[in-house]
Structure formats: C-alpha cells, structure tokens
C-alpha cells in the first residue's frame, strides 16, 4: 500500500535557494500536501508551506508541481508513477518569502484598485434579482483566490514590468463580475482597459486551464469584458444587432463614474 517516493522540494528564501532531494513515505489516497506535511513532521520541521483548509476551499497551498501550477491539497499522489520524482516549487510569478511560500501582496494591491460594488439607492432587503441573472457573476464568485491564474498568466509571469499596469485574470474577472452583477450601477469598462490592462490579454486561456474551481475565466469573463469595452460604436456586429433588434442593453450610454 505505502511506498517511498522521491521528492525534490525548493528550499531557500528571497536571496537564494536550491532543490533538495527527499525520500518520503506515501500512503494510499494521499495528496502532495500530505507528503509535504510528513516532511515537516520528520526531517524538515522548518519547511515553510502555506496551507489552511486542505479541502480545496481556501486557495492557500498554491505551488508548482512538476512545473504545473496547482493546489497541493488537490493533487493526488496517485496521479504520479511510483518511481517518478515529484518536484515541488513555489509559484514563479511572486517573490519567494521562504521555501514554498511566496509574497502574494501584488494581488491584494490590485484588489484595492477595483472600484467596489455600488448598489445604487436600493435598500437592504429590497433587492430583487432572478436566478438566471445572478448566475453569471456567481460563477466568478466561486473564486477561492489561490492566484494560480495570475501566477500562470504570461503577461506577468516573466514580465515584472507589466505588473504595474496589469491586474491579472483574477481581478479582470472581478471587474467582469461587478459589471455583470444585476444590482451594480457603476461602469468599470474604461478603467478595465486603461488601468488594469485588459488589452494585454490575448486569450490564450492558460488561466482557465489552471483554475482549480474550473471557472471559465477567459470565455465567460475576459472575452465578454473585451466585447463590452470595445463598445457598439466600433463594432459592426453590435451595430447590426441593434438595427435588427437583437441587442437591447446599451451600457455605453451610461456616464462613466468618476
């Protein structure tokens, strides 16, 4: 049932580090995080790893396993061959604090820049929304903020210089979530393009591929946002749609909020 697995784990801090080899016991049904915990409890008590719920709900234990951005708690050991070396490294896009723990404060800075929900004049208890209308934004609110999408996005993965003007898929999706929120009255299209770098996204769908919540970030959030930003004025299809009466909502006529 149990076997000895070969692990290579990145050890080090902001200054320097290296991959260290370990041989460690693995039992039936275990995930990568279990093995990392076993290392902590036995030969590496100071091995730094960020984790919390160990159930794929909090998004804390993001790392790269054999080069793939993943949650360690949702990566089952049974997906590897017993003789395969499992390499665990920290997320590459964010600065390392120590070992597998990275400084993800970039994400929290970007979160602060997105103009918040604005419910207008509706009083608490008086909101009326249909299920079908809330479902679009509900999909994006499944996000557990593991930041694997931002880690993966090539706009910033190897381009530190883009971080200042690019909010990453996570926060462009947050903009989309608010734009599609049936009760929100603000308009964030201009800021999405000018401040958050929506135009950088060339829809390679890498973010969607690594999302542990299987949110269709590119198809359901980023592409529709791009369409909204382009606006009807420049889009002959939307223009045609409005002539034959398919397109009803016209958000472009709303005044952007200061």
């Amino acid at each position: 049932m149990g076997y000895k697995a070969k692990f290579r784990v990145w050890r080090g801090d902001a200054g320097k580090g290296e991959l260290k080899d370990y041989t460690v016991e693995v039992n039936e049904g275990e995930v990568v995080l279990d093995v990392i915990h076993r290392l902590q409890a036995t030969e590496a008590p100071d091995l730094a790893v960020r984790w919390n719920c160990k159930a794929g709900k909090c998004g804390s234990c993001s790392a790269e396993v054999n080069g793939r951005p993943r949650l360690m708690c949702m990566t089952r050991m049974s997906t590897f061959e017993e003789n395969e070396t499992v390499t665990v490294t920290p997320m590459r896009t964010f600065p390392v604090i120590r070992d597998l723990v990275t400084d993800v404060s970039y994400n929290y800075q970007k979160a602060r820049e997105v103009p918040s929900f604005d419910g207008g004049d509706v009083k608490p208890g008086e909101f009326r929304m249909q299920q079908v209308d809330v479902e679009r934004s509900q999909e994006f609110r499944k996000c557990i903020e593991c930041f694997l999408c931002n880690n993966t996005c090539h706009v910033i993965r190897d381009h530190e210089e883009n971080k200042e003007h690019f909010a990453g898929p996570r926060f462009l999706m947050r903009v989309a979530e608010l734009e599609m929120h049936p009760a929100d009255v603000a308009d964030r299209r201009q800021i999405a393009q000018e401040e958050f770098g929506l135009g950088f996204c060339n829809i390679t769908k890498c973010c969607t591929e690594v999302c542990p919540e299987h949110i269709k970030i590119t198809d359901n959030a980023l592409i529709p946002m791009k369409e909204r930003v382009v606006g009807r004025r420049y889009d002959p299809l939307v223009w045609l749609g409005s002539k034959i009466g398919i397109v009803k909502r016209d958000k472009t006529k709303e005044t952007p909020k200061a």
Partner: protein, 625 residues
C-alpha cells in the same frame, strides 16, 4: 527591545473569519481606528469551509417563519441550555445581517420572486438558510473582505491612505493579551509569520474572533488555525469559559481516503433529500428519534419523502434531526457492525436526485468527492462518519455587547460561548458570526471611546520571553510528535461518547502532555518557521483540551454535544447549570454556575408539555398561563 514594532489602535480584532471581519467593519463604521489580525492570508479563514448557509427567518420560502420560530428551534437544538438572550438577539437580527450582505454585493441563490432563496436544514422548522450552492461561507467572507476594501477605498479618497482607519495584518499570530496595572486590557502581543518579528498592538479594546478548537482532535473538519487561540488567550488574561464540555461532532465527514478523513460533507446533502443507510441498505435514522422530538419527525419512509414536497402536512425526515442525534446514531450503527467498508455509513443522494440537480445544488461536494476520493456522488453513495466540527463552549460574554468579564475584552463567533447551548443547529453559525460580530464591534467601539491604553513594559518582556522559549531549549521534543499525541488522546478519550474512567485518564494524560509542551524545542531562523508556530499553538491546544476534559468529567448527564455512556439520560437539574472554567495559578478550575431563568415572554413561546421535557418542576410557568 528595538526589534519590536509598536502600533496604536482603538480596537484590535483578533481573527479574520466572518465574526472578526464583521466586528472590524462595525468598529470602523463607528469611526474607530481598527486593526484586523489574521493568522492566514486575508480572506482564507475557516469560515470559507461553511457550506450550507446562514439561518435567518426572512420568510422567503415559507411565510409562516419568523424570529419566534427560529428562537424556538435554536433553543430546542441546544437542549435549552442556550443563553436565551443570545438566542433571542440572534433570531431577531439575523435577517437584517443577511440583507446587509446583499447590499454589500453578495449574490445569494434566488426564489422565483427574485428574493433570497432559503433551504431546509436539520432542526429548522422551515426552509431558512440563505445560501449560494454549497459555498455560502466563501460568499460571506468574500463579501465582508470586499466591504473592508471598499471602506479602505473611502479612507484613501478622504485621507490619502488605504490603511488610515482599518488595517489588515495578514499572517500574524497573537500569543498574549496585554493588561495594564488596573487589570484592564491594553493590547495584544504577537509575531509576524513572514519575518518572525514581534509586534505590540496597543489598544483599549480587543475583540476575540479566533474560532474553534478542532485541531486538538485527530478527526476534524477544522483547518490548522483552529488551535483554540482565543479560548486560551482569554483564560490566560483571567476571563472565563463556559460550556466547554459541548463539542459538536458533525455527523457527516469523509471517512476515506485516510488523508481526507474528517473533511466536511455538508448537511445540505440531507436537506436536499439525501438519506443515510447502513450496510443492510436500511434507512436507520427512523430507529433513533429521541422522545423529545417524537411528534416532529416522520415515522415512515413514505411520510418522510412526502415532506420534501408538502412540508405543511407531513413530518420531517429523521435524517434532519439535530446534528448530535445523527452523529450518535451513525456511531451506534458502525459499532453494531452495520457500517460501510471504511468505517462509516452510506449517504445516498445518487438515487434521490437527478445527476444535473446534484451538480447544480451540491457542486463543491461533487467536486470534492471526485477529486479526493474518486467517487461520483451522482452515481454512487458517499461514505461518511462523525468528525469534530464545532465547539459550543467559549468565552463567557454579555449577550448584548460581547463583553467578557475582563474590561476591554470582547468575543464573538465560535470563540464565544452560550448562544448555541449544548448543540448548534446547522446554519446558525454563519448568522451568529454576523449578529454577534457586529454587536462585539459595536461594544468594543463604545468602550474604546471612553478608555485609553497604556502598556506596561513588563508585560511585553514577559510575552517576548515566552514566545522565544522554544528556541532557548536544546534537544527538546519535536512539536509535531506532541501534537499528534494530543490529537490521539482527545479523539480516543474525550470523543463523541465519554466515560468517567476515560475522562480521568485523559486529564492525567493532558497533564503530562502539558509538561512535554513546555519542553519542545525548535531550531533555525524565525522567518516563516512552522515548527515554531506549532510549538506556540500547542500551549493553547493543551489548555483548552484540559477545559473540555474537566467539564466533560463534571457534567453527569448526556445532552447535545456531550454524551456520557455512564450517564445516558438528560437531567433537568443539570440543565440549570453552566460549568465555568478559569485559570488559577496555571491550573484549570471548574465552577458550577446557575443559569439565569428565561424571560416570561420567551418561555411563553413554548407549550407547557414541551417545557416539561427540559425544565424542573420549579422552573415551569404556572398552568393558567
């Protein structure tokens, strides 16, 4: 002392789950300079694990629902040991707190009329839980997190600084509350995980919102943060804990594979029609309806199944009994040899709902079983068993303000005690967080308006020396080994079914473990050192475990989350008593304390026949009422 950072606030909130964030929002709305201290990253607290929903008598699904019905359900669920004033405030204020979340951007599932949808849950007479699929806790915490960001944006606009009035300290752990010469709270001492540097928060008011104690048990649904920090900090500061013997074992945790044993399977599975079966395929819950609930639960499968469509003319399925009842029933079935292959029982939703409906209503359960256990819950039953989930006991507080017995100390959420009595109903914790988080934030803000804080240097020196002890010792034990033994001890001896001899053994074992905790050692630097963090958390876990074991030994009856094999009956005499833990010269001392009699108008909400099941003769209202 040059390496210690000192920061000044009006209100410091320890804990960044639902209760902590709601308390902080309130303190900031009252104009107070507020700090939020989070052991994890901002937005990752244990609240994200809450699945089912927030109970609030909005009456959207059934117009007969109101605060009185919710109050009655809560008292019944807690077997009348609840602090009735807390249960009253909770039932009255929960709807406003849920609606407020919506005004902050939360997106709950909807009814056909466009209102917030409400679902059925164990012990709730009507569909009452506002929910978002089965990830309601995430919605709650994200909404509070985003509300805080929006307040920070307001402050940035006005004062040029996001952190001017409300600041989040992520990955920061408090190890001591600080008290001034008069015995008032004056701040908190802790370390920043990333660097290991110490920090002193000077503040007249501190709100504890640290959650529970589950990490003292081996099989638990709780995350690593749940080490009883707030419970222990309160004890060490001289405050009291009540009801610590009452620990809720959620009936349905995953039992296989071993590495995920204990992870929660939401009660919504049963609320949406899921049934429990033993290895004979029998729906065994019909055998386990206790006398106090006999007239409220269906006695045949036919009636139980009709209830989902026609709740007004049928009684509820017994799968929806309060959690303590269901957990004990599962335990008995497994003991009798009628369990599933991996030591649980079967929870079947596959034969009850269509696959699309299951995926729609229980998406994260579907995902969780598929990814972690290779089980497709739309095609086969789950295997489930009890898991340590929630502690009803906690800091003794004033119901209206959340104030503890030490001036300047407040508590809300799971770390506070009284609200849920001997057993919490599902759905009542998310609403508890909001109602009492707000009240504690308000209480702390009002108190901080009148009091200033001065921290004595000696307090800081003592706290720092204590935090560094694991580095001072050489060749001591590995903290992980001590932790594993503590978890095994609590699981084996203070678990779901308790006995006098085992509890005595546990108390003795905990005494020895405390010695060992005092001798663990760590090496290396202080930056992000998990071994050091655990070494410090162990003090809290052992202290809280002693409270649980001692109170469990003292209470000679079975009630809610406390089942004594040697005293299987519920006793009306014991109902009148709270057990109160305090620390005296480092030892946990236990005191019996009379409960305050329920206010007449509240007791009048119950039928006399029902009251007779719980109260002593002398406590009953006179017949003519």
């Amino acid at each position: 002392m040059s390496e210690i950072e000192r920061l000044q606030f009006d209100v410091v909130v320890i804990g960044a789950g639902g209760a902590g964030l709601r308390a902080a929002i309130e303190a900031r709305l009252q104009g107070k300079k507020t700090a939020i201290i989070s052991k994890s990253l901002f937005g990752k607290a244990h609240t994200v694990m809450a699945e089912g929903g927030a109970a609030a008598a909005m009456g959207n699904a059934n117009p007969n629902d109101n605060w009185q019905v919710h109050f009655r359900d809560t008292m019944r669920g807690g077997k009348f040991l609840n602090n009735w004033r807390m249960a009253e405030l909770h039932a009255k204020e929960a709807p406003d707190r849920v609606w407020e979340l919506e005004a902050w951007g939360a997106l709950f599932d909807r009814t056909k009329e466009g209102k917030i949808s409400q679902r059925n849950f164990g012990g709730h007479e009507y569909p009452r839980l506002a929910h978002v699929g089965d990830r309601t806790g995430l919605e709650l915490i994200r909404t509070c997190q985003q509300k805080i960001v929006s307040l920070q944006q307001d402050d940035h606009k006005e004062l040029g600084d996001y952190d001017a009035k409300i600041q989040v300290f992520a990955e920061t752990t408090i190890t001591r509350l600080l008290k001034d010469d008069e015995g008032k709270i004056c701040g908190a001492f802790g370390y920043i995980r990333e660097t290991g540097k110490f920090v002193v928060f000077e503040a007249p008011a501190v709100v504890l919102a640290t959650g529970g104690i589950g990490k003292s048990f081996k099989v638990t649904s709780n995350s690593w943060e749940y080490t009883g920090d707030g419970h222990a900090l309160a004890l060490l500061a001289g405050a009291s804990l009540i009801n610590m013997e009452f620990v809720q074992f959620h009936p349905t945790g995953m039992v296989w594979p071993p590495s995920v044993k204990g992870i929660l399977v939401t009660e919504s599975v049963r609320g949406d029609g899921g049934v429990l079966r033993n290895s004979d395929g029998k729906r065994f819950m019909f055998e386990y309806i206790p006398d106090v609930f006999k007239d409220k639960y269906a006695t045949t499968e036919e009636e139980a199944d009709r209830w989902y469509e026609d709740p007004d003319n049928n009684r509820r399925p017994p799968e929806l009994l309060p959690r303590d009842e269901v957990a004990r029933a599962i335990n008995s079935e497994v003991k009798a040899g009628r369990g599933s292959p991996h030591g649980g029982v079967f929870l079947d939703i596959a034969s009850r709902l269509k696959a699309e409906q299951i995926i729609k209503r229980l998406p994260s359960m579907h995902h969780q079983f598929k990814e972690l256990a290779d089980v497709d819950i739309t095609a086969e039953p789950m295997e489930v068993g009890p898991t340590c989930h929630y502690v009803m006991g906690g800091v003794e507080v004033d119901p209206d303000t959340g104030a503890a017995l030490i001036p300047g100390l407040f508590a809300a959420g799971e770390v506070s005690g009284g609200m849920h009595g001997s057993n919490r109903l599902g759905g009542n914790s998310l609403s508890d967080l909001l109602v009492f988080g707000r009240r504690a934030g308000l209480g702390a803000a009002e108190y901080a308006s009148e009091v200033t804080a001065t921290v004595p240097e000696s307090e800081i020196e003592a706290a720092m020396a204590e935090a560094l002890e694991p580095y001072e010792r050489e060749g001591g034990e590995n903290p992980y080994a001590v932790h594993q033994e503590l978890q095994q001890t609590m699981n084996d001896l203070v678990g779901i079914i308790r006995r006098e001899e085992e509890l005595e053994q546990a108390i003795e074992a905990l005494g020895k473990l405390r010695e060992r905790v005092n001798s663990v050692s760590v090496e290396g630097g202080r930056g992000y050192h998990p071994g050091w963090h655990l070494a410090l958390d162990l003090r809290n876990m052992v202290l809280v475990s002693e409270c649980v074991a001692k109170a469990a030994l003292e209470r000679q009856e079975s009630r809610g989350g406390h089942t004594r094999d040697d005293y299987p009956e519920m006793s009306a005499e014991w109902r009148k008593l709270n057990l109160v833990c305090r620390l005296s010269d480092g030892t946990v001392e236990l005191k019996r304390q009379d409960m305050e009699p329920m206010r007449d108008d509240l007791i009048g909400l119950f039928e006399l026949d029902e009251l007779k099941k719980y109260l002593t003769e002398g406590e009953l209202p006179s017949e003519e009422k």
